[in-house]
């Protein structure tokens, strides 16, 4: 393939991401998630303004659950977007076009930045209200905000990977349901720190948890790309991503003793 063709295909990804991103954030499923997230954040903000919010761990759960639901519905929305050709009977006409499947999957993966951006705006608004009121609850740091945003990215990538490997529109809602309701139980345990939507109070552990989330997101994204990409394109980034996941998971398992502020989010 000529170099110019490669450059041309590379520049298609941002264009695709823009179109797909707009379609994602205007999708009714995602908008329902935004509604729930706004409600959850509003409850937390109300507690902050009223001065009854003591800490992120104690009072932030409404915002956290709201944004988790936003992420879960992002999973469903990205899955529907990735299955759009199949649902719309456009597979044949789009197969006759020069852009290949991995480029389209990359565009869709990049488009998950849009829902993640919406989640970031919501969480930033919550943090902003706390700051302006000078009543910010303890334990809420920027790293937690970023963790939540990356969780939304991860869930979006899971929706795309499911569509690529199990192209059935009924699978994603089932997975979403399972993710939402499978909880680790009330007894704290170190392995709970490996649950993606878990925030850790201690800053250093939260940073490792963020690295773990980033690695996990990369692994899922590469799994989504693996089906239609050349193995050698995927192999090196996959090894790096898995190494990040394993290393950060080891630190988390070693350091996240229940007494050190593990907080289910």
């Amino acid at each position: 393939m000529s170099g110019s063709a490669d450059r041309s295909r590379g520049s298609v990804v941002p264009a695709l991401a823009r179109v797909e991103g707009w379609q994602l954030v205007s999708h009714p499923v995602f908008l329902a998630g935004v509604g729930v997230a706004v409600l959850g954040c509003a409850m937390f903000v109300r507690a902050i303004v009223a001065g009854t919010a003591v800490s992120w761990e104690e009072n932030g759960w409404t915002a956290a659950i709201g944004v988790l639901l936003l992420g879960i519905l992002t999973l469903v929305a990205t899955n529907l977007a990735a299955l759009r050709d199949r649902r719309s009977n456009t597979t044949e006409q789009h197969t006759s076009l020069p852009i290949l499947r991995p480029v389209r999957t990359s565009g869709l993966l990049a488009a998950t930045l849009w829902p993640a951006g919406v989640a970031a705006l919501l969480m930033a608004a919550v943090a902003g209200v706390g700051a302006t009121q000078d009543l910010a609850p303890s334990g809420f740091e920027v790293v937690h905000l970023v963790e939540i945003v990356v969780s939304v990215l991860l869930l979006g990538a899971i929706g795309i990977a499911l569509a690529v490997w199990v192209p059935n529109p009924f699978v994603a809602p089932v997975v979403a349901w399972v993710l939402l309701f499978v909880t680790p139980g009330e007894t704290p345990a170190a392995w709970h720190s490996l649950i993606p939507w878990q925030t850790l109070g201690a800053i250093d552990l939260a940073a490792w948890h963020l690295a773990y989330l980033c690695g996990l997101t990369a692994v899922v994204a590469l799994i989504a790309l693996a089906k239609t990409s050349r193995p050698r394109t995927i192999a090196a980034p996959m090894v790096v991503a898995i190494a990040v996941v394993v290393a950060s998971a080891a630190v988390l398992l070693d350091g996240a003793c229940p007494a050190e502020g593990l907080c289910r989010f």
Partner: protein, 289 residues
């Protein structure tokens, strides 16, 4: 421009025990070529092979002077290909503009400004400029057909494949479609698969009749009509010896087949020749230009 845009040599395609294409050899150049044939004749299979979405089981295919089995060549062919499938799909939640814009991105048009200009251009050609911001789900069947046509025109393709483009269109829309095809800029090679012989007569410089997975005729529309010369007659009553016959508006019967002695012969049309040929094909008879 290449002399031969589609070049098929001994192309075979099977679906289980069915031979959809059975050793098809033909070359198609610039201009509008009609592909006529009954249901199951192999027309859509031929279109899908030419659109690079289906690989043949045997024979060789060259498109736009390139080899579609080579991955790089295939991408290059797809850059210069416009394809309107038999049953086009649409993204219902998109507007007409958004849908064509999305296809334009998949045609490697990444620059937003020039892409949007191109999208507006093809929507205007298809007569959809006024409904560009309407959701696809709110468009009529004819408008959707034209939308599918518009996406096939992006980037002025060198090869335009139209699989039954007038199916479901009312007479006015069909005439409008003919106008669109006959006024295409840069005179691309157009392969038009259809059941509608009037479209072939009106548009095509050349016609290929396919039946049973083989090419039964390849030539001009006049030459196709001429194959029925001396085999079409009219009579006051129906004649059981005809391959096909029907009662006309004036009460007389038009017959196609081997006429009896003294029959009142009439000038054959493309319809007559096609019907005779397809009937002949069923009887195992071959016809040539």
């Amino acid at each position: 421009m290449e002399q031969t845009t589609i070049d098929l040599t001994g192309v075979v395609k099977r679906f289980g025990a069915v031979h959809a294409l059975d050793g098809v050899t033909l070359g198609i150049g610039p201009g509008v070529t009609g592909l006529l044939g009954p249901n199951g004749a192999g027309k859509t299979t031929m279109m899908r092979i030419a659109a690079t979405v289906l690989a043949p089981d045997g024979g060789t295919v060259r498109l736009l002077d390139r080899d579609p089995t080579d991955a790089d060549d295939r991408v290059e062919i797809r850059r210069r290909l416009g394809y309107l499938p038999q049953e086009p799909g649409f993204y219902q939640r998109f507007t007409a503009f958004e849908f064509v814009d999305y296809v334009a991105i998949l045609k490697e048009m990444s620059d937003r400004r020039s892409r949007h200009e191109e999208v507006r251009r093809v929507l205007e050609i298809a007569g959809l400029g006024d409904v560009a911001n309407r959701k696809v789900k709110a468009l009529s069947g004819g408008m959707r057909r034209r939308l599918a046509f518009a996406q096939a025109l992006l980037r002025d393709p060198g090869l335009l494949l139209l699989d039954e483009p007038t199916a479901g269109l009312d007479p006015e829309q069909r005439l409008r479609f003919r106008e669109l095809v006959s006024n295409l800029p840069n005179r691309p090679a157009v392969l038009l698969s259809t059941h509608v012989t009037e479209d072939v007569t009106a548009l095509c410089e050349r016609v290929i009749v396919v039946a049973g997975g083989t090419v039964r005729f390849d030539g001009s529309t006049d030459a196709l009509s001429a194959t029925a010369q001396g085999r079409v007659w009219v009579a006051e009553a129906a004649d059981a010896r005809a391959v096909l016959s029907w009662r006309m508006g004036d009460g007389r019967h038009r017959h196609i087949g081997d006429p009896p002695a003294g029959a009142e012969l009439t000038t054959p049309t493309v319809d007559d020749a096609y019907l005779l040929m397809v009937g002949g094909a069923r009887d195992g008879r071959e016809m040539a230009a």
